[in-house]
């Protein structure tokens, strides 16, 4: 299984009936493909849509129905549209049950850096700071390492996105949760040992004696 698919499928297991969910760009977007059968969730696009559906068939796109990346989407039955003030009222006001975002670094206290690399990449934070600050639950979807370097560090070296720690990070190797400023390994990916996860992680990691394997 592709690393991105492992991550997306595992995060999809966190969805439950009726949730309002905001997915970031990149791996998080894939989560929508793996919603468990029989469960209905509302996906929000920060540009003003609840009920975001899959991209339309060729030739059926509409220029004023797009996702937060400006790509054509569909609106599912029961969808609603609203202005950006309400969209961010939903986000900052704690009405979004879950957001799934990409990450550059996550540290052992759960702080996330995902919006800039000083001197290199300054795209702007868009909605990321509001999402991390305001959503009820924050899950980060990212690869465990980048160019051989771990992305799960002791202390973020990049500027953080929010003072609010994330709840969970899911990588192609592991599920790690953050509670009371501590990182705990809660699951490993199939074929990956807890020792391999620890070796690929700079953060101090609490490793229980028994670590279950992701049920994908």
């Amino acid at each position: 299984m592709e690393p991105q698919v492992v991550i997306a499928r595992r995060i999809a297991q966190e969805l439950s009936e009726g949730m309002l969910v905001n997915l970031g760009i990149g791996i998080p977007t894939l989560v929508a493909k793996y919603v468990p059968q029989g469960i209905h969730v509302f996906f929000q696009s920060e540009n003003g849509l609840i009920g975001t559906g899959a991209p339309p068939e060729e030739g059926m796109m509409h220029p004023t129905l797009t996702d937060a990346g400006g790509r054509p989407v569909t609106a599912l039955p029961g969808a609603s549209t609203f202005d950006s003030a309400m969209s961010f009222g939903l986000i900052r006001g704690g009405h979004v049950d879950l957001t799934v975002l990409g990450g550059l670094q996550v540290d052992q206290e759960g702080y996330l850096a995902n919006w800039m690399i000083p001197g290199k990449m300054v795209p702007g934070m868009g909605g990321a700071m509001d999402l991390v600050t305001g959503a009820k639950r924050v899950i980060v979807a990212m690869q465990h390492t980048a160019k051989g370097a771990t992305k799960i560090v002791k202390k973020c070296r990049l500027p953080v996105t929010s003072l609010r720690p994330i709840d969970m990070v899911v990588t192609e190797m592991a599920v790690i949760t953050f509670r009371d400023g501590r990182a705990t390994l809660v699951e490993t990916a199939p074929g990956v040992s807890a020792a391999q996860v620890a070796a690929a992680t700079e953060a101090e990691l609490t490793v229980p004696s028994q670590v279950p394997v992701m049920a994908l």
Binding site: S45, E46, N47, G48, L49, H62, P63, T64, L65, T66, A68, G69, G70, A75, T81, F82, D83, S84, A85, S87, F88, G89, I91, R92, M121, V122, P123, G124, M125, G126, G127, A128, M129, D130, T133, G134, P159, V160, T161, S162, L163, R164
Partner: protein
Amino acid sequence: MQTVSVEQSVAMIPDGSTLMIGGFMAVGTPERVIDEIVRQQKRDLTLITNDTAVPGRGVGKIIGAKLARKIIASHIGLNPETQRQMMAGELEVELTPQGTLVECIRAGGYGLGGILTPTGLGTPVEDHKQKVEVNGKSYLLEAALRANFSLVQAFLADYIGNLSYALTARNFNPVMAMAGDTVIVSADNIVPVGVITPDHVVTPAPIVDYLITNS
């Protein structure tokens, strides 16, 4: 409300003006007003807008023509030219979290001095800003934003200027319509009064100063 041609609407805008421009990745951006700004070469503009789209689209056209002196936006990552001008020191860029940006615009239009938000605390966004504690929780004080002109794209405008918007082309438009000293509207469709029923009017007619006529 007055009706004007797109040429007349842009001719009203002096060089050096601050413009709020609706749209999200150029969806819901008044493209024909942007094209006319570029044609009339309006200079030294300050733009308050969610993003700078991509080169050749929406606000990206103004950036490409180097007519902006400063932008206040939440995201410029999909327009390499904006980043290039910023790095080269040709363009001042103030990056603001999207929820803060829209809420500061809303405050500007609703007669408030600013907003208190937890977003941006502990990040470079808080630099040089006052922190305020309310009921034991910390917030950043973010000042309200207003503009000389708001450039709005609606889906429907009726003959007297009531507006409604389409799907995700709504975004910043109705919020910005409240926060500009002069509000210029371009609409996909101009319709008789009554076509937009009272419950479906999003921006009430008295807010609109100029409606651009069909050419």
